[in-house]
């Protein structure tokens, strides 16, 4: 084990939270842990806003003719729901909060390689977020989060430019975060911490950073061109002016498909940590799970054309993209099998984080398998653009990424806040989220197969039963998300004090006190063993 000294217990030991007070100490901090908390507060805000829009949509869809708002308003609701949830919640969620907090701790460093750049990333994110919020207040935007041209460039008279600029700006936050992580993971590891001793969370964050740095710039330039197009009607994407609308889709999906892996890979990393800890086992096939993260990141860039099977893309390109889409399914399947096998002959305990992790595996399995319908050309023709798509990507992004994020928050909350939350409530919330989620999104698979297109403000009456089921599920899901929000806030003040390593977990982050001191470790750690040495033989007394 490492030679770091466990945090000293006593009267309020010095840590990163009480090191300094006042708003300046937060807004000008370069401490990665404090920046992580800045992100945590901001993404929670955006999650609540995006979730609010989702609730309005589900209420509206209870009745076939639409129960709540005008179609124009409904279009703005789903657009802002998508834009906010994807660019301002899901993409930064695990990387910017847990990644920021944990990467230096897990690799035994004092901070990220570029702390000021890290703070700058947060400010960039906030500026981008303000543009988006401005657009919401100034009348909204109705293009869908996909901004398809020529609707967005020529026909929509809503706040397209403001949102495009907002997402463009936020893109640089992702780019700089990814750059920071890559350099940190390469150059700042503690002595003895070789690549194959790294926690799988670090592998996942590394793979995610690859996508951040290589994919996001393309999105940025695409939205830049879109904004120019919207303002000046230049015509690259507008057929009436000689351009080509499919070009926009190619460029957009070059980032936006890999963006799905930005959301799911970190969650996979979190789940690997949690399962190892609560099963007290080394992750089965550690190297393969690690490499599969990188494989997913790379292959994920080769499949974007499967969003375009019915758009008039060449059928030969469709064939290639279909094949590659199936290939990316394989590393995901391998991961699921390996997590499952980790439980074999393990010693499993069921604290809240583990429930979220197991829920993740279940929902991700379903989300991943339903992806096969959409990778296969013939079935995709029928299902593309329907609620089947909506259900599929919510299984991945909400069932997968959000479950992973919540699991990670429950796992590392004692480390982040130094407090414990009520485990019973946490288990209850996990169960409610799981049930509510399935009730919301499973009916949407059937709706899609029946042919109900997405983004419909009103719909033929025969689809009502399933829509009502989905809306009912959404209300349960909403409650499930509120409960953790309440007890996390409660625990910051009233929760019992957490010890340095409440779960008996391995990993350098548990070797320092909870919450960690500003410089992370009182004595820099040296690593002498692999990650997840939970086993019986390797259990010397030093843990």
């Amino acid at each position: 084990m490492s030679t770091a000294t466990p945090g000293t217990r006593g009267n309020a030991p010095r840590n990163y939270l009480n090191a300094d007070y006042g708003w300046r100490s937060w807004l000008f901090t370069v401490d990665h842990k404090r920046i992580a908390l800045l992100y945590m507060v901001s993404i929670t805000f955006f999650f609540v806003v995006g979730g609010f829009f989702a609730m309005l949509m589900r209420i509206h869809l209870i009745e076939p003719q639409g129960a709540l708002v005008q179609p124009e308003t409904y279009n703005k609701l789903f657009t802002l729901h998508g834009v906010i949830m994807i660019f301002f919640f899901l993409v930064p969620s695990i990387p910017a909060v847990l990644g920021n907090f944990l990467i230096p701790l897990m690799i035994g460093a004092r901070d990220l390689a570029f702390p000021r750049l890290n703070l700058l990333s947060w400010y960039i994110y906030i500026v981008g977020g303000l543009f988006t919020l401005y657009s919401a207040i100034a009348g909204g935007v109705d293009t869908g989060w996909t901004f398809y041209t020529p609707y967005s460039s020529t026909y929509s008279n809503t706040q397209v430019t403001a949102v495009a600029v907002g997402v463009f700006i936020t893109g640089f936050s992702s780019i700089l975060t990814g750059l920071n992580f890559i350099v940190t993971i390469h150059k700042m590891r503690a002595p003895g911490l070789t690549w194959f001793r790294l926690p799988l969370f670090i592998w996942a964050m590394y793979a995610t950073s690859i996508i951040f740095t290589l994919g996001t710039p393309v999105l940025a330039i695409t939205l830049f061109l879109l904004a120019l197009e919207h303002l000046f009607h230049v015509g690259i994407f507008s057929p009436a002016l000689g351009g080509d609308p499919l070009l926009f889709q190619h460029l957009f999906w070059f980032y936006s498909h890999p963006a799905v892996y930005i959301m799911i890979l970190p969650a996979m990393g979190v789940v690997s940590e949690i399962i190892a800890c609560f099963a007290r086992k080394r992750i089965f096939g550690y190297k393969i799970v690690g490499f599969s993260s990188v494989a997913i990141a790379v292959l994920g860039f080769l499949v974007w054309g499967h969003h375009m099977f019915v758009t008039g893309q060449s059928i030969y390109a469709g064939l290639i993209f279909s094949l590659l889409s199936f290939l990316v399914a394989i590393p995901s399947a391998i991961k699921v099998f390996n997590w499952t096998s980790t439980l074999y002959k393990a010693s499993i305990s069921y604290e809240a984080p583990m429930l979220y992790a197991l829920g993740f595996i279940g929902l991700f399995t379903m989300g991943g398998l339903t992806g096969m319908f959409l990778a296969a050309l013939a079935t995709d023709v029928h299902l593309n653009g329907t609620y089947f798509i909506v259900a599929h990507f919510h299984y991945i992004m909400v069932g997968g990424a959000v479950m992973g994020y919540l699991g990670g928050m429950h796992f590392w909350w004692p480390k982040i806040s130094g407090r414990k939350y009520p485990n019973g409530w946490a288990a209850l919330a996990a169960a409610i989220v799981f049930v509510g989620f399935n009730l919301t999104f499973f009916p949407q698979f059937i709706l899609g197969y029946l042919g109900m297109p997405r983004r419909y403000a009103f719909y033929p009456a025969e689809f009502q039963v399933l829509n009502v089921m989905s809306s009912a599920g959404a209300s349960i899901l909403g409650v499930g998300y509120l409960i953790p929000l309440i007890y996390f806030i409660w625990s910051m003040r009233y929760g019992p004090i957490a010890e340095a390593n409440p779960w008996g977990a391995k990993g350098l982050e548990w070797q320092t006190s909870s919450p960690p001191p500003t410089e992370n470790f009182t004595q820099m750690p040296v690593v002498t063993e692999e990650a997840y040495a939970y086993g019986a033989e390797e259990e010397p007394s030093r843990g």
């Binding site: 350099v183 061109l225 000046f232 015509g235």
Partner: protein, 226 residues
């Protein structure tokens, strides 16, 4: 919690030593340059598709540019890359005087490049071939553009302005960074052990040069000049 400039000049608190910091800085800038490749890549990809679709129009648009000015600017920018490389070399050997001289030379050459560029932009306004802002080609220019389709020629000029504009923006940022280096170098901030900022800005500057190396044939030399 400011970064502590300890005994070792320029060492940030999160690093163990200057070697580690230098490694991290260089890796960081290379990763950044790769993101820049992808950033420009989006425009290059769009350019590649539309040029392939409307080759005649793109060639016609390209033939309205002045190859001589493009070639001169290429030489100027390559010269600035040379002086930039020599700045880094001066920093490596700890020659503060030459460091400052070469940095200023780089800035002068960069300024010359932007000057020529500004002249070319102005020409486009004179000829009314600036998409959206001043698009009304007439006379001989209209006759040369018409065969490929005016809309498509307009797309070519959009790419001309978008690509050279993005490039010029990078140049301007680079000039700002150079100025910052000059000020720091005059104060004697750099030593043969610590000159990472010079090297990092240098890599950035060379990258901007490389972008131009591709822009020159892609914008000025479409379809030959025979």
């Amino acid at each position: 919690m400011a970064e502590t400039h300890a005994e070792s000049v320029g060492l940030a608190h999160q690093f163990e030593d200057l070697a580690q910091q230098h490694d991290a800085d260089t890796l960081g800038i290379w990763v950044f340059l790769v993101t820049e490749i992808m950033f420009f890549g989006g425009v290059f990809a769009s350019y590649a598709i539309l040029r392939w679709l409307y080759f005649t129009a793109f060639a016609a648009g390209s033939h309205l540019l002045d190859v001589r000015l493009g070639a001169i600017n290429t030489v100027v920018l390559l010269g600035s890359s040379l002086t930039m490389a020599l700045s880094v070399r001066s920093a490596q050997i700890g020659n503060r005087r030459f460091l400052v001289i070469f940095l200023i030379l780089t800035m002068i050459l960069g300024g010359a490049f932007l000057g020529v560029k500004a002249y070319e932009y102005n020409q486009k306004f004179v000829e009314h071939i600036v998409p959206s802002l001043d698009w009304a080609p007439e006379g001989a220019i209209l006759a040369r553009l018409a065969p490929g389709g005016l809309d498509h020629a307009k797309l070519y000029f959009f790419f001309y302005f978008a690509m050279t504009g993005l490039h010029a923006l990078h140049m301007i940022i680079g000039m700002g960074l150079l100025l910052w280096l000059v000020l720091r170098a005059r104060k004697g901030n750099f030593t043969p052990q610590y000159f990472a900022p010079v090297e990092v800005v240098g890599l950035y500057w060379h990258f901007v040069d490389i972008v131009w190396i591709f822009l020159f044939p892609l914008l000025y030399l479409i379809g030959g000049r025979y």
